[in-house]
């Protein structure tokens, strides 16, 4: 249960940072935090009480004593995609800073309508 609370708080903290912060780097950080929360939430949904990781490293391990492997495989994919998104976002932040000499989104005029 505490994992659900933690995952939800991470998602909400990340979204709050994205919504209120002025610094673009902090917005990218907020995206990363929210993404971590989503990953934790998926893993938590796949967890089954009293069971272990889905690895048969010992012949005595039984499939009935293992957690759901599918969310773990999905989260593995999600982490890699998240890393790619963060790297690309940071590259664009570097470009924006070069062009406007500021990281404050309120001072970047083209972002307003």
């Amino acid at each position: 249960m505490v994992y659900y609370v933690a995952a939800l708080s991470l998602i909400l903290i990340g979204t709050y940072a994205v919504l209120t912060k002025k610094n673009i780097v902090k917005i990218v950080l907020g995206l990363s935090i929210a993404e971590t929360g989503v990953n934790l939430l998926l893993i938590t949904i796949g967890y089954v009480k009293g069971r272990t990781a889905p690895i048969f490293s010992d012949p005595s391990f039984r499939p009935e004593k293992m957690v759901d492997p599918v969310p773990q495989a999905l989260v593995l994919t999600a982490i890699v995609i998240g890393l790619a998104v963060t790297a690309l976002a940071l590259a664009i932040v570097i470009r924006l800073y070069d062009h406007h000499k500021t990281l404050n989104i309120e001072k970047i005029r083209q972002l307003k309508w």
């Binding site: 939800l8 998602i11 909400l12 089954v48 889905p54 048969f56 490293s57 492997p69 995609i81």
Partner: protein, 228 residues
């Protein structure tokens, strides 16, 4: 005003998430008997990989992983394109201390060794190509941080990356030739829990490990070179 609006929308998001998750009990078995439980029951016999997560990522959903590697490649290429004209201007304000330099020289080969270990044993232990590749990239990051003039050969990075990506696709196509489908496990499965087992899974994971390692090193290299 803005903060109030943000907090209000957060309250809505939180309420929706909480009311949805109330229907998803914690720690109860929710596995689909046709999918997850089947992977657990038949995974080792069918793929030869004792790590079921690896069996899913590389074998059952190998095509998905090919797409994932493609996304990572696109991100690395896009980053290179966005930062195209900012190359070769790397300057660091203060040089790293002697302790960092000496430690980096000792740790770097060990980190690369650990990364290689993680991706070679991807079908036996927790870990795999992506994790091993990231560990190798952290080794290179340490070297970039410690030495001002440290630089990786871009020709080699590109060569390793392209070779690893081609290996993945060629292994998939060989599955089409010698088996029934793309990425079919056409090599003998061997005995479970041995390093040389699980057919093409270790080969694909070594390719992924090299590809992710060289791609992330390339990303780090691009980002480090733009520091002023």
């Amino acid at each position: 005003m803005k903060k109030v609006l943000a907090l209000a929308s957060l309250a809505v998001i939180g309420f929706v998430l909480v009311s949805t998750l109330r229907l998803v009990p914690f720690g109860v078995n929710k596995m689909n008997p046709q999918v997850a439980e089947r992977y657990l029951r038949e995974g080792v016999a069918r793929t030869g990989s004792v790590n079921i997560v690896t069996a899913i990522v590389v074998n059952y959903r190998g095509f998905d992983t090919l797409g994932e590697v493609t996304v990572l490649f696109l991100a690395a290429t896009g980053l290179g394109a966005v930062l195209f004209d900012k190359r070769g201007k790397r300057t660091q304000r203060t040089p790293a201390s002697l302790i960092v330099k000496s430690a980096a020289l000792i740790l770097f080969p060990l980190i690369v060794l650990l990364g290689a270990y993680v991706f070679v044993h991807g079908h036996l232990t927790p870990g795999g190509g992506f994790q091993g590749g990231v560990i190798i990239a952290t080794g290179f990051l340490l070297m970039y941080m410690a030495f001002r003039s440290y630089d990786v050969s871009h020709t080699w990075l590109m060569a390793i990356e392209s070779l690893a990506g081609t290996t993945f696709v060629v292994l998939g196509l060989l599955g089409l030739v010698y088996g029934r489908s793309f990425l079919y496990n056409f090599l003998p499965l061997g005995t479970a829990n041995a390093v040389f087992s699980a057919g093409v899974i270790p080969l694909i994971y070594v390719a992924i490990g090299l590809k992710v390692g060289s791609e992330l090193t390339g990303i780090l290299d691009h980002l480090m070179e733009t520091i002023r």
